[in-house]
Amino acid sequence: MQRQTTVMRAVLNSRLFWLIVAAVAIGLMPIIFTDSYWRTNLIVCAINVMLAIGLDFILGYAGQLNLGQSAFYGIGAYVSTLLIMKLGVPFWIAFGCGVLLSGIAGMLLSLFAVRLRGHYLAIASLGFAVITYQILVNWISLTQGPLGIYAIPPPPALQLPGLPIIDFKNLANLFYLTAGFAFLAYLLLDQLVRSPIGETLTAIREDEVSAASLGINCQAWKVFAFAVGSSVAGAAGCFYASFVGTLVPDAFFITESFTILAMVIVGGMGTLIGPVWGAILLTVLPELLRGVGDLRLIIYGVAVTLVVLFMPGGMVQAARFIAAYFRSLLPGRGAGA
């Protein structure tokens, strides 16, 4: 009995186990949700998960309050789309360019803001987001501005040896692609966070002066965190464009940055799994509330406020609380265990 629970706890605590669970869950989603409406929502969830974990890496781990996530998202979307639509560049090369340029934009913003902290950085990044949005609106000869870009094709079909052609016009396949990338991004960030780099970033977040005294090049690491987090947002942007098929600057207005920030906070900042749940909740909740009609966004606003008021650690904290409760119910454990 005792051994059984020990094994069970070891399994529950093992990272590999949860990664397998997540992979299986992703695999099952389009099988459970067969209609195109919910499959659409699944893809939106995957895109938002990328945005949220990218921001969390910058904010939750490196401690940099970044309100420019909407700009990186937009840069990824516009760069890849313009390359595909104007120059006929193949999707995956355009995708790479979008990710790269978002990352470079993140680095530049971080280099610029390297002396700033706290809310000053927040507003500098907000300023960056406002300017990026305004450029998308005003540079009509390049971006079409509010006139929009339409009929953006989905990613080209994949022909893998020994497999049938994978067509991304099919929403299930497109979900596997975006969710697969979100999963990869998660793995990458998770690996970074668990490596010495993660400790370095946390040290900078906790106390920059002490970190510097330990010989850590704080500025370089902050730039690194920004580059990584903004590249992930850029990838989300590329998928957004090829999935929705329509691109207008309004999708990347600064309020989008606050929505992404809310996903991170509601999920639980400073953990990677928290923002995943936060992104899913804040994507699905407004859809589930469609049934209530005009009250929909009022309830949504109240819900966000209440979550913050009563679960300041986000959904992760709530989950830990519940998990601790259930663990205490497991047999063979003393009160003090």
């Binding site: 309050l65 610029f112 803001a113 002396r115 700033l116 902290r117 706290g118 809310h119 000053y120 507003i123 500098a124 907000l126 300023g127 960056f128 406002v130 300017i131 305004q134 450029i135 609106v137 005003n138 600064i254 606050f258 920030l261 809310a262 906070i265 509601v266 900042m269 005009d294 009250l295 929909r296 966004l297 009022i298 949504y300 606003g301 109240v302 819900a303 966000v304 406020t305 209440l306 979550v307 913050v308 008021l309 300041p312």
Partner: protein
């Protein structure tokens, strides 16, 4: 051309003085609490609606409606602090109130939408369409009123901050918490006072912005982004800086419209903001909060 330049100067100062009223509230709250109230914009909107309904539904005087909006704003500020900011104080994460107020903002906007509907209210005051023309220039009595009322309000606030004990205490807290503690001031009451003053200014600003901007439940959001910029350019928590920056942004708006394109206003304002941050990270005007650099 000179008259056009002067005219645009006046236009900029009228709009700028309204921005000052909104931005002052943000900067006061930031100064004392180092926190951002995202729903500040909606207090502006609610102030505008309070003035509208007082004038057009209850048949009140427009000048009195400014006072009504001020009271409504003050009450909302009190509620905002009591329900959101006070419970979240000392929870460790400085972002919690920001996110909570985003939730409040979504709720308030959509509640207003349910009540007032999306169709813009035509909020013409008795002074809106009275035009004075002098030397090739024009202004409405409403814009004269805006300048007089906001100058008086800002002057009163300034005197309060400079010369009264409470005002000095507020400044003390925003500059140095520990000193404030030594002065024997209850910080909780001071924070409450700050919220009430800040939101009263926003409500009052709303009563005067209502006739200027397109009055819908989303009216305040068009002002708040600029208010953020003003607060930074002026230096977070710095009252004098905010006043100057507010007028400056108003002037940028009118001169950008004249010489470039109104679509570029935000780019110019935020480019100035980034420039300010690059050159003088504590704001254009003062260097008070050294610890942020």
């Amino acid at each position: 051309m000179l008259s056009v330049l002067l005219q645009q100067g006046i236009n900029g100062i009228v709009v700028g003085s309204l921005y000052v009223l909104v931005a002052l509230g943000l900067t006061l709250i930031y100064g004392v609490l180092v926190q951002i109230n995202f729903a500040h914009a909606d207090i502006v909107t609610l102030g505008a609606f309070a003035a509208y309904f007082f004038t057009f539904v209850l048949g009140g005087n427009y000048l009195a409606s400014i006072a009504v909006a001020l009271v409504v704003g003050a009450a909302l500020g009190w509620l905002m602090n009591a329900l959101i900011f006070a419970p979240l104080r000392n929870r460790g994460n400085e972002l919690l109130p920001l996110i909570a107020t985003i939730g409040v903002s979504i709720m308030l906007q959509n509640t207003m939408l349910a009540w007032f509907g999306p169709i813009p209210f035509a909020f013409d005051t008795p002074y809106s369409n009275d035009v004075i023309r002098v030397a090739g220039m024009f202004f409405t009595i409403q814009s004269v009123l805006i300048i007089v009322v906001s100058t008086a309000t800002i002057g009163l606030l300034y005197a309060f901050m400079k010369f009264t004990f409470l005002g000095k205490a507020l400044r003390a807290v925003s500059q140095d918490r520990e000193t404030a503690g030594l002065m024997g001031i209850n910080p909780n009451q001071l924070i409450m006072l700050t919220f009430v003053i800040a939101s009263a200014l926003a409500g009052m600003g709303g009563a005067m912005l209502g006739p200027v901007l397109v009055l819908t439940p989303f009216a305040g959001t068009s002002v708040i982004v600029k208010a953020f910029a003003i607060v930074i350019i002026g230096g977070f928590g710095n009252v004098e800086g905010t006043i100057i920056a507010g007028l400056l942004v108003g002037l940028i708006e009118s001169y950008t419209t004249q010489f470039l394109d109104p679509g570029l206003i935000d780019i110019v304002v935020f480019a100035l903001l980034l420039l300010t941050l690059a050159l003088r990270p504590t704001g254009l005007i003062a260097e008070k909060r050294e610890e942020n650099v």
